[in-house]
């Protein structure tokens, strides 16, 4: 399938170019306000020292359960929210402290798609209006080419031309997500954060939207950070996956051979908790016991220690360092990284 006129692919990556996105020790704390004076009483440790690299053309998945900080991470890397600490390098340039106006040209290069496009599309604008607003703001195409550009865009995401004059509420969930995708792509970005883009959709519609995203990714050479709680979708769609737990990345690994490679007990638990869709392969699901610690007061050691089947003494005391386990894989776990000390010799 050829690219729609007006939508051009991003430049091809050169082998030695720096990663498109380079995040170092990113921290985000949200204050919890209360009391008579509405002062900060405590801090939610949403993202707690995250480092990651995304190369050009790569699709990186972020998985984890609700509250693990994956959406916060997605918003941080494109600076929709301000980090508490840490460094953000985009295409080799430090963007952590760029001002609003300095960020504007970058905003065009990085876009985001949300889970519920309905809450992120202006209900009072038609589809054409929504798309034109973004295109005009960033002066993507000259005014006289605008109508043709919008038509091509609408057709490319699989909507009918009549959709132009309709409002977001007139569409079904899947179609609305197509509008969300069209709006993100309208400014010809090179980097896209997709925050649970198919989670709210029925399976048959989910497949349509995933296929569309895969085609567009290939056509436009997009780089993607794909946030999802569904490991099956991530395994299918992404090159690499980051597994988050309570604000930390506990494991990074390639999606190829995911089941055989996964080392961290939490990644293994996530894989084992997913019911296999084959009635001839019935197996007990991995059930984790124990409670998730509150992000208000994370324990000093490994955040997973309260539910971990491999928990040791050291896990309660010190945060495990992230160690490399072959190309593209890194694990933060005492039990996996250190040779396990048998209980009797302790």
């Amino acid at each position: 399938m050829s690219a729609a006129p007006g939508i051009q692919p991003a430049p091809a990556p050169t082998p030695n170019s720096p990663p498109l996105l380079d995040v170092r020790d990113l921290v985000k704390h949200f204050p919890v306000r209360g009391g008579v004076l509405n002062t900060a009483q405590a801090k939610v440790h949403a993202v707690n020292g995250v480092s990651l690299e995304v190369r050009r053309g790569e699709v990186v998945g972020v998985v984890g359960e609700s509250g693990c900080g994956k959406s916060t991470l997605g918003k941080l890397v494109i600076r929709l929210i301000e980090p508490t600490r840490g460094t953000l390098l985009y295409a080799g340039r430090d963007i952590t402290r760029l001002s609003h106006s300095e960020l504007m040209p970058l905003r065009r290069r990085m876009q985001i798609i949300f889970q519920d496009p309905y809450s992120s599309l202006n209900p009072r604008l038609t589809v054409a209006g929504l798309l034109k607003e973004a295109v005009r703001f960033h002066r993507v195409v000259p005014e006289r080419e605008l109508d043709g550009y919008i038509d091509a865009l609408i057709a490319r995401v699989g909507l009918r031309t009549e959709s132009k004059g309709k409002f977001p509420h007139e569409f079904s969930g899947g179609q609305r997500q197509r509008i969300g995708i069209a709006r993100a792509l309208a400014v010809r970005p090179e980097f896209l954060v997709a925050d649970e883009p198919v989670s709210a959709l029925d399976v048959s519609i989910q497949a349509q939207v995933l296929n569309l995203m895969m085609e567009l990714k290939a056509e436009l050479g997009l780089t993607l950070l794909f946030i999802s709680h569904d490991l099956k979708v991530v395994e299918h769609f992404c090159d690499r996956v980051l597994v988050m737990y309570l604000g930390h990345i506990v494991e990074t690994l390639p999606c190829e051979n995911l089941h055989a490679r996964a080392r961290h007990p939490y990644t293994r638990a996530l894989l084992g908790a997913n019911p296999v869709d084959d009635p001839d392969d019935r197996r007990p699901l991995t059930v984790l016991r124990g409670e998730v610690p509150s992000p208000l007061n994370p324990p000093p050691g490994c955040p997973f220690v309260t539910r971990c089947p491999l928990a040791m003494e050291v896990c309660r005391e010190k945060m495990p360092p992230t160690e490399s386990h072959g190309p593209g894989q890194a694990v933060a776990c005492w039990a996996v990284n250190e040779p396990v000390v048998p209980a009797s010799s302790r």
Partner: protein, 355 residues
């Protein structure tokens, strides 16, 4: 109660809604049996009528704007059975629920047929403690003393693996996590030992590790208590792991039914097959490949096509499909299917696909 005997028989169930644009039939002529100790999964996409079917059985649809057709029959087979001090005011034998009066429904609902919902926070009362809510159900449906009810409430919370039930009983729903709330809902639904548990997407709003806890719990309770479960879900992995039989719905109709292995390995209806093919499969052989899709969207119930409701999205459509709707009749392997051109061949799929 002996396994295998039907505890619930639904015949020709049609549920209609009066709207500004006319009467809409959300569930059209649905029939099935549910046996003691069996798990029946009802699958389908949003708007296919699976939730309306379950609410019809519980008679929870608003009377103001909806009704069940005169032909609808929902038969609860009330068999004598030893229960924990139940206030047994229902006559033994077949009890018709589709047109039953309110007092009959009061004794059936919660005590004989119980339901858990997707979002526990909307079905738990936020202003009462969970102990109060368990006590209310027990007070209404059993003859237990105050102390007995208290003991039973604690026992139920322990059964659903809530730690410190003696303390938790004094807590309010907002003090519990999502998974715990769903466990309280299950305790509430099972405290009167119902014959049938209807679970409407009980794990959809939960994280996968919490979902595993709840599914594990439900499987254990089913084995211990012999409750028949009607499981409504769109998660086909959950269906494959837990269901005995499956009912596939589309646009308010049953389009195929059968034992779970037949549905997964020999789906006859093109929709069932397409639905199974559209889920991303684990394993390398499919990574990065386009997923099979079903083009188009579910038709609006206000404006249903004349023939087969799936025809405009169906790859096997021929002319007569759009002219007259096919009946639900035995297909190539003898199971009911609503299609003129059902699949004969088994579905080719790599089982499990785990590497």
């Amino acid at each position: 109660m002996p396994a295998g005997e039907p505890v619930l028989s639904v015949r020709g169930l049609s549920a209609c809604f009066r709207t500004d644009l006319g009467v809409v039939t959300a569930v059209d002529d649905v029939s099935f049996d549910l046996s003691a100790g069996e798990t029946l999964a009802i699958v389908g996409e949003s708007g296919c009528g699976k939730t309306v079917t379950s609410k019809s059985i519980m008679r929870l649809l608003p009377e103001r704007n909806s009704f069940l057709s005169d032909q609808s029959r929902i038969i609860y087979h009330n068999r004598p059975r030893r229960r924990a001090a139940a206030k047994d005011r229902l006559p033994p034998g077949e009890i018709e629920l589709a047109h039953a009066d309110a007092p009959t429904m009061h004794h059936v609902r919660g005590a004989r047929i119980a339901m858990i919902f997707q979002e526990p926070m909307t079905s738990l009362n936020p202003v009462f403690t969970i102990g109060w809510q368990l006590d209310e159900a027990l007070k209404y449906h059993t003859d237990l003393s105050r102390r007995g009810r208290r003991r039973r409430a604690v026992e139920m919370l322990r059964l659903v693996e809530i730690a410190n039930p003696e303390q938790r009983i004094h807590e309010y729903p907002h003090q519990l996590s999502g998974g715990m709330r769903q466990r309280v809902m299950i305790a509430l639904a099972l405290c009167c030992e119902p014959d049938v548990l209807i679970a409407d997407e009980p794990t959809t709003a939960l994280d996968v590790t919490i979902q595993a806890q709840i599914l594990d719990l439900m499987a254990g309770l089913k084995a211990r208590l012999g409750t028949a479960i009607m499981f409504i879900t769109h998660n086909l992995g959950v269906v494959a792991q837990f269901a005995d039989r499956v009912l596939v719905m589309y646009a308010g109709r049953v389009i195929e039914s059968g034992p779970v292995r037949d549905i997964f390995h020999r789906p006859q209806h093109p929709y069932t097959r397409a639905l199974l093919d559209s889920i991303p499969r684990a394993g390398n052989r499919h990574r990065g490949r386009p997923l099979a899709t079903i083009e188009g969207i579910v038709p609006s119930l206000l404006n249903l096509p004349g023939g087969c409701k799936f025809a405009d999205r169906c790859p096997r459509r021929r002319e007569n499909c759009v002219e007259r709707e096919p009946a639900l009749e035995p297909g190539p392997d003898g199971r009911p299917v609503r299609c003129y051109y059902p699949h004969h061949e088994p579905r080719v799929a790599e089982p499990g696909g785990r590497t």
